[in-house]
């Protein structure tokens, strides 16, 4: 439900970059969205399409790469992927873990003219 705020923030960044790099038209936008973030890609696409109308980014495709959740155990140092939302070290079963990836909500690049 908060995808509209995220789409608005994304549009602001693209318009800033568009001015900096003298972009006439954006064809596609590459994003990284972590699996742990609560963003629904379809909703984000829908909201973005709506608010991008009439701007340099109207009609651009959002290429959304999902980033898997990975952690590092703070007790034994093992790095592991989180499966089934189990934030527990597979080696020593410690629950003291640091999240390394999976919370991303980043813009990576623009394909532009």
């Amino acid at each position: 439900m908060h995808e509209m705020s995220i789409a608005q923030s994304l549009l602001n960044i693209i318009l800033q970059e568009g001015a900096t790099h003298q972009i006439r038209r954006v064809v596609s936008v590459a994003l990284k969205v972590g699996e742990l973030s609560s963003v629904v890609p379809e909703s984000l696409r829908f909201c973005f399409e709506l608010i991008a109308q009439g701007t340099i980014v109207e009609g651009a495709e959002l290429q959304i790469e999902r980033v898997p959740v990975t952690c590092r155990c703070e007790d034994c140092g093992t790095q592991f992927s989180v499966e089934h939302l189990l934030f527990v070290c597979p080696s020593c079963h410690s629950r003291r873990v640091e999240v390394l990836s999976g919370r991303e909500l980043n813009i990576q690049s623009l394909e532009a003219e």
């Binding site: 908060h2 705020s5 923030s9 960044i13 693209i14 394909e111 532009a112 003219e113």
Partner: protein, 226 residues
């Protein structure tokens, strides 16, 4: 056609505002929590109990976030605490900018603890930092022990989970042991309190935790890191 690299966090504008808020809170020596839960889990009831329980010990201010109405702010105001009502007008969460705009009427120097009561929602508020020290969430037993599985981000990012309405356990199909285990699998660092805001059960442990956090904030002084 060309590729323009732009590596930026989409929520960077909110992060910046949250950091500005954090600086204001630190300068005032305030301990700040972002209180989140689904609708009706007991955020406002917990605040009413907490204001009463810590009266004369911890000076509490509240920012009330709701889509509509001043109902919650009126409840808090009756308890004698400083309160500001924010109406988001439809938005499902609070953000750094809304908090910044809400600070002006508050006399921060006369507060020890500021609680931001977020909009009732188990999803969106978890994504937006406000400048708080900690996220605290409530899950009531009436909502069921499956909620950690369904709303992982909120459990993953919270420091404290209050399991509320434990007085209803005889009447609902909720296994608190299962609820705790599912929450801890998402976040082994969670501090968990089992409480009832209706009967008062378990609340003293929560009050004591708050007293300690406020004392630690004071001891660290201005500009200290969390």
């Amino acid at each position: 056609m060309r590729t323009v690299p732009v590596v930026r966090n989409i929520l960077e504008a909110n992060q910046r505002l949250a950091e500005e808020n954090r600086k204001v809170f630190r300068d005032a020596g305030l301990f700040v929590i972002n209180l989140m839960s689904g609708p009706g889990a007991g955020k406002t009831s917990l605040l009413e109990r907490t204001i009463d329980g810590l009266r004369g010990q911890v000076r509490i201010g509240v920012i009330e976030g709701d889509i509509q109405s001043t109902y919650d702010a009126d409840r808090i105001s009756q308890k004698g605490a400083q309160v500001v009502q924010l109406n988001t007008g439809g938005a499902c969460h609070l953000d750094g900018n809304m908090i910044k705009s809400a600070l002006e009427p508050l006399d921060l120097e006369r507060l020890d603890l500021l609680v931001v009561e977020n909009v009732g929602n188990l999803v969106c508020p978890a994504e937006f930092n406000l400048g708080e020290d900690m996220k605290v969430m409530i899950l009531s037993v009436a909502e069921g022990d499956d909620k950690p599985l369904k709303y992982p981000l909120m459990f993953q990012t919270s420091a404290v989970l209050l399991i509320n309405k434990v007085d209803l356990l005889p009447y609902v199909d909720c296994d608190v042991k299962v609820m705790r285990e599912r929450a801890l699998q998402l976040n082994g660092d969670l501090t968990i309190f089992e409480v009832s805001c209706r009967t008062g059960q378990g609340l003293e442990a929560w009050f004591q935790w708050l007293r300690e956090q406020v004392a630690m904030r004071k001891a660290k002084g201005d500009g200290a890191k969390a």
